[in-house]
Symmetry: C2
Subunit: 257 residues, 2 copies
């Protein structure tokens, strides 16, 4: 594939694109938070209800590279219902993770306001990674007893999850420094609205889908003064697919004169 930014542009092996990110231990009380999403050129993050199938094998390779460096991979319960995903990496990544002092697999983190969980998903039935649930007090009260088996439950908020508090708990209680969020669009919106996102990894698939599928961020419009702005860090291309890495920044207030 081609690295287009930063210069100099040139050929780059897909194996190295996101394999050694410049992630440092975050200074604040929460993890460094990166979103990883794929969408069509017309902005659809799901086609026929699912993100699977939008991206290419290269997109999935880069997704595994991101997961392999994260301490934890987070997903919303709605996305888990739709996608049947498991936030794991192939065993070939485990040695490097262990050498860096990480667990062999990222911690799987599920976010649910309600506590109603799709317990039949491989996220719950596989034994090769640790799991945590972020939920509200109401959601915790609604949890089926079977759901608690092997699940670390972090309670933040009364009826809806307080994401800032939850991320603080992920850091303080579970040692999560780098958190990769794989959606869905509603969870992305809640994180962005709370100012909790540091980076966006966006794959732009070379296709048009139309239809009712969501974009990568779904929720109330951001007020112009508070809308997240993006700094373009890197651009790669493989065939017609683009891989964009952005830093998320808040709009600066105009300086006083």
């Amino acid at each position: 594939m081609l690295r287009l930014l930063p210069p100099p542009a040139g050929e780059q092996s897909p194996d190295s694109v996101y394999a050694a990110l410049d992630w440092r231990a975050p200074a604040g009380a929460r993890p460094h938070v990166a979103l990883n999403m794929v969408c069509t050129a017309d902005g659809r993050a799901a086609v026929a209800g699912r993100a699977a199938g939008i991206g290419s094998p290269t997109d999935r390779l880069l997704m595994r590279q991101l997961r392999a460096q994260a301490d934890a991979v987070m997903v919303g319960a709605g996305t888990l219902r739709a996608e049947a995903l498991t936030p794991t990496v192939p065993a070939s990544y485990a040695a490097a993770r262990l050498a860096r002092g990480q667990s062999a697999q990222p911690l799987g983190v599920l976010v649910s306001n309600s506590g109603r969980l799709p317990l039949d998903r491989s996220f719950f039935t596989r034994a090769d990674f640790a799991r945590a649930l972020i939920t509200s007090a109401a959601g915790a009260a609604a949890l089926a007893p079977a759901a608690r088996a092997g699940l670390r439950v972090l309670i933040a908020g009364e009826s809806a999850v307080d994401l800032a508090a939850a991320l603080g708990a992920l850091r303080a209680e579970l040692g999560v420094r780098w958190l990769l969020c794989e959606g869905g669009p509603t969870l992305n919106h809640a994180l962005l609205a709370a100012g909790l996102v540091d980076e966006l990894f966006l794959t732009l698939a070379p296709k048009l889908a139309a239809g009712p599928g969501p974009t990568i961020v779904e929720g109330a419009p951001f007020a112009p003064a508070a809308a997240p702005r993006l700094r373009l860090l890197t651009v790669h291309a493989d065939g017609d697919e683009l891989y964009l890495r952005y830093r998320v920044v808040r709009e600066e207030a105009a300086p006083c004169r």
Copy 2:
């Protein structure tokens, strides 16, 4: 700004990015059709109901370069109501247009199924460019007499516009070889669904908007086998904003064995 694709990457003046496109006289019975759209990184083609304000001054410069090479600039009536746009270029482009045998300004083409037109818009009140209306037979019957002044009316379809026939008429009757469509998303969808789009120029603004705004293509989902695929032709960057040029292709049927 930077040209990222095609290689070699390097600095390029914004004045030259889309100023000399490789557009040839189309072989078929309709014009060469290019869409030009701007959206946020989360796919919104309108924020608070309008596209204006999403793109940077560089985006608008490139828009003018595209318009300056088009024989006609087309827009849907809904977008004209929302945006108050006039499909013109500064007078500095006129000499080059005249030297190429084009009119000093592109023909302004409005598409309306209903024939109910926003006659107070500068699209109708300015005298410095020619105008055409594409509408259905029902829309033509509903046209206010005042709307016909200075307006070439092309009728295609009974109650809804037949875009393939309308584009054929633009070519055959008005000599339009290169047609730039500036939306909106519903007109884009109708053109794509009918297989009438050759290129997509897409500016990706470095911001996130969320909210109810449309994407660049709004309408029923494309069937997977008929969904438009994109070939990435060029990529430019100015600061954090990206300018993508795609060729639109139909998914190839699997070859027979």
